[in-house]
Chain length 213, copies 2
DNA sequence: CTAAAATCCGAACGAACGTTCGAACTGAGA
DNA sequence: TCTCAGTTCGAACGTTCGTTCGGATTTTAG
């Protein structure tokens, strides 16, 4: 059992993150958290100001740790490809070790309002810009004739990585290191690295096909 | 103004999808939908059995249309790369034309329970397997020494495509066709197509770095 | 030991939720 | 004109929600 205030605080945060990840923030009640932590409903409010603060602390702690660790590991590194490798490994290994928190971070981004939302969003933008900058550096070392759009590439990379909470089992056969190297290879060289396919054109389609009316 | 029962039914579904996408399913109330549709709270229940049925109909209709259209367009096509292009274009153009519905489909997958969840999940599995099969065919036309894991590739592709509701603006500068061709190129040939980088190894990391204790 | 401080909780608050019910409208066919 | 099925909605139901309050219990400090 947790003893100090801080230990219990952290325990409540982790439990809340687990339940938020399972049932989503809005359909989790403070009574659910009370039941899971064996802390009375009123007792919870000794450790947090509100349910929304719980969500904020989970997201902010999560981002803080992943950003701090990333900046440490990037220090002194110059090669863009190496930077990208560190970025991907850092993101995925943290994700795998904190699936609940990261799912909450990805999935409940808009569940915060006001200053709390702004605060987390600012951190997220910083993180996104950092990734975009790394990709820009990688791109500049190459001179492809038709480079992929930088915005698309950035968000595609985040999409690949953040989607894993929908399918990846950290305790399954696929190790995190294998996942990371697969994502690295897939993102950099693609699914068909040799590029033997002559045409990459996607079939055109009339824009009105999907219209409602 | 909508006149027939079916028109009003569809109007309510589309409005509900819009609000679900904006505020999430669980924090949208029937009163919100009532307000947005100018249909009284009780009147809504003339057009649906429950709030959960609204969510189900949105998801099921959405999947039905995207699957039906895909099967039509794939008919008679043999070349795996062409199939993949059709798949990506079909998915993204539908996504762009129905951002709200697709966000609800991606974001509220677990908000259904019981038979409704099973029904949608079955359709989703079918769709996923179809994508996986196309990727397998693409992979078999190549003989790479270290092919990317098929499961990782499949979900990475879905991640890229389904993440777009977090950033893509269908009315912005980037056209859907450009988005699709960028995603196609990125997925097949990668961000650095020529593969000049000697090592793709991701930096190893002690597994205990992220542990809680 | 004593008193102050920290921790904990049963019970209740007002508000909002999904859903239902019965009555009031509406328009088309007889 | 009357009837009846289709449509609409105000009002209310019982439940659950986040939060609070006053006091009980435990821990700490002098």
């Amino acid at each position: 059992m947790a003893k100090t205030y801080d230990q219990k605080h952290e325990f409540i945060l982790r439990t809340a993150a687990r339940i938020f990840a399972e049932k989503s923030y809005h359909s989790t009640s403070m009574r659910d958290i009370s039941r899971a932590t064996n802390v009375s409903l009123a007792g919870l409010y000794h450790y947090c100001k509100s349910k929304e603060e719980l969500l904020f602390l989970i997201q902010d702690n999560c981002f803080g740790r992943v950003l701090e660790r990333l900046e440490q590991r990037l220090e002194g590194v110059e090669d863009p490809i190496t930077k990208l490798g560190i970025f991907i490994e850092n993101h995925l290994s943290f994700f795998a070790a904190n699936m609940s928190e990261m799912k909450v971070l990805s999935h409940e981004a808009e569940s915060l309002g006001g200053d709390l939302y702004t605060h987390v969003s600012t951190r997220k933008d910083k993180y996104t810009q950092l990734a975009r900058q790394i990709l820009r550096e990688v791109q500049e070392t190459q001179q492809s004739q038709e480079p992929v759009d930088l915005t698309v590439a950035t968000y595609a990379l985040f999409g690949m990585m953040n989607w894993i909470y929908n399918w990846y089992d950290p305790h399954g056969k696929l190790k995190v290191s294998d996942l990371a190297s697969n994502v690295m290879k897939l993102f950099l060289n693609g699914f068909v690295p040799n590029g033997m396919c002559s045409s990459l054109a996607v079939p055109a389609e009339s824009p009105s096909v999907w219209s409602h009316g």
